[in-house]
Assembly symmetry: C2
Homo-oligomer: 358 residues x 2
């Protein structure tokens, strides 16, 4: 595993992912949609949730969790709400259909909310909240995930990193796109640190005894992340509360698995991940142009406010990712040595040619 890092074009990366999915027997439309979202995630600089997940997806496919040919079913459909059973299809595919449905409902009725159960890892939460932007809506995207976060005062991982994404359009400014794990950091940040062999800051994760660790290997093995806030004194109970909130909306309300079900079944036959999507039509509340002008005002005011000692820039959520996308579309997407090695293994195991470099 002495691979070097690589820099690849978005097109080459997508082609490789599609060829892997093809070997799994994935219908072309589903392979294309999923690969597109994965590459877009890498373009946006969210290295933990793009092609970096392909080795995991390959494991899940072989375990029978991901069923590439499955078609999600709308099992309940009412005025403003719907429930989708993902049928173990790719999480990206199920989530795209569900968010489209939420948007369609919001177009007619003002708001739309759709839950998904029996789904898989859906990549970056923002992929779906951002679908609302072009429709001049506010988009909401939540998902639960495998145990990684330790409750305040606990020492066992009971909750996923359960991300929250909310997107809102602006006028001339970049749209607001929040996409955050409710843990201090996402598990992906640990795998990125592991991939590059870097120590992690204290406060991110706990060892088996529940004590802070800076070793990315230990942290990645225990998967004992702290909730956002890190300690009780700094508000860790708030991150814990947000993580539970996500498990309630994306897990319990969706009828998907949630922390307790996972605890009771250590060797499940499917991931049964749950999602929660929402779309809110801005024009039902305010004149759209006035909303966008105020959004520009808000975002500019934040960015133009005085900087802390030693800082020359204040960001708003979504801006670093937007800039990464411009940069990486031009310069390519860097892949760390460990990931290159993992992708070579996926290539060898599936028979999809490794076309990403020497």
């Amino acid at each position: 595993m002495s691979d070097h890092s690589l820099v690849v074009s978005p097109a080459a990366l997508k082609a490789f992912i599609v060829s892997v999915f093809d070997r799994w027997g994935t219908p072309p439309m589903i392979a294309d949609l999923t690969a597109d979202l994965m590459v877009r995630t890498d373009l946006r600089g969210v290295d933990s949730h793009g092609v970096g997940m392909l080795p995991t997806y390959h494991r899940w496919f072989r375990r029978g969790w991901i069923v590439p040919t499955a078609e999600p079913k709308i099992v309940r459909d009412e005025t403003t709400t719907a429930v989708v059973d993902g049928q173990q299809a790719f999480g990206h595919y199920t989530s795209t259909l569900a968010m489209e449905l939420a948007i369609a409902k919001a177009r007619v009725h003002g708001v739309g909310f759709v839950t998904c159960r029996n789904s898989n890892h859906y990549g970056a939460a923002a992929n779906y909240s951002m679908m609302a932007l072009a429709q001049d809506m506010v988009g909401i995207s939540l998902t639960n995930s495998g145990p990684a976060v330790v409750p305040t005062y606990g020492r066992q991982a009971m909750l996923g990193t359960n991300p929250i994404s909310v997107a809102a359009p602006a006028g001339g400014e970049c749209p607001f796109v929040l996409d955050m794990a409710t843990s201090t950091v996402a598990i992906g940040k640990l795998s990125v640190a592991l991939r590059w062999g870097k120590p992690i800051p204290p406060g991110w994760a706990l060892d088996r005894e529940g004590l802070p660790t800076t070793d990315p290997t230990v942290a990645y093995q225990t998967r004992h992340l702290t909730p956002l806030g890190a300690t009780r004194e700094l508000g860790g109970h708030k991150g814990y509360g947000l993580a539970v909130m996500v498990d309630i909306l994306a897990g319990v309300l969706a009828g998907a698995t949630f922390v307790d079900a996972r605890r009771r079944d250590p060797d499940p036959v499917r991931a049964d991940i749950g999602h929660f999507f929402g779309a809110i039509d801005i024009a039902r509340f305010r004149d759209l142009a006035a909303f966008k002008a105020d959004m520009d005002d808000l975002l500019r005011a934040l960015k133009q406010s005085p900087k802390a000692e030693g800082q020359d820039r204040i960001y708003v959520a979504g801006e670093p990712e937007w800039e990464s996308e411009q940069r990486r579309r031009r310069d390519g997407i860097p892949l760390a040595p460990l990931l290159v090695g993992q992708l070579r293994e996926v290539s060898a195991e599936t028979g999809a040619p490794f076309t990403l470099g020497v």
Copy 2:
């Protein structure tokens, strides 16, 4: 101001608050509703948002921001959404009406969302999300507030502590009631520390130079709070992002003031605080009994999970407040010396007799 602390009964506290509101010319129904919510907040142990706010409300009333006789107006009413202009009425009154409207819409259409503008401080966010519980709905309550939180990499307070509250019913267990400022701590925590003369932990607040301070007086004066996560390394940009999200939904979407407007008008003629309320009917997604059984499973699994070294209990959001309510209904509500002095001043200035003790 050499007052002692006092312990008062809920009934006595409510009677005092009502008598103050009466001197302002508040109609009895509005005075009763507002005082009830304030006392309930103190019962729940949220000392920063109950009667502790009365001196502030008195200042706002005298400044003309709170108009005790005002009636909120529904200025837009569609299928699943509505917009309420608070007309500068008490925030508690406007918010109760708005959440009732959201619940009524959710009863008929599955979900309901209502924004409010031109409102005032609404007390504890959970007062309104909890209204959904008895209706077997999930309740959402957000509000913006005056500048107190410094953006990541900034040194000027640009955002309110902008709380998020989400409530969901359980079966046998206490309902889940999250109510959290998106700052590391709420401004009220600083005033409580100031009231009792206690130093604050490092990471809660910044001084004028943007450096951490442990002095509650300095922190209360600058009102330079950190967003949840405290530092960039521990995820402070996430708390910052959540605070902006709340300002977008409760401020911009509601057509209320938001950070930039406040910046431009240092001496406003009204508070123009904005709120965002939501209700989601659980039965549209799942069988209600199954949802509640799973909620009990989820909450019990968390509470029964292994404890950290030196800890003997894991809480879930809403539980400490529920227990405080049982305790304080029995034992009374403690008032700190500084607050007692402030309430005496309100009594003297309004002519409402000070009936809370010697």
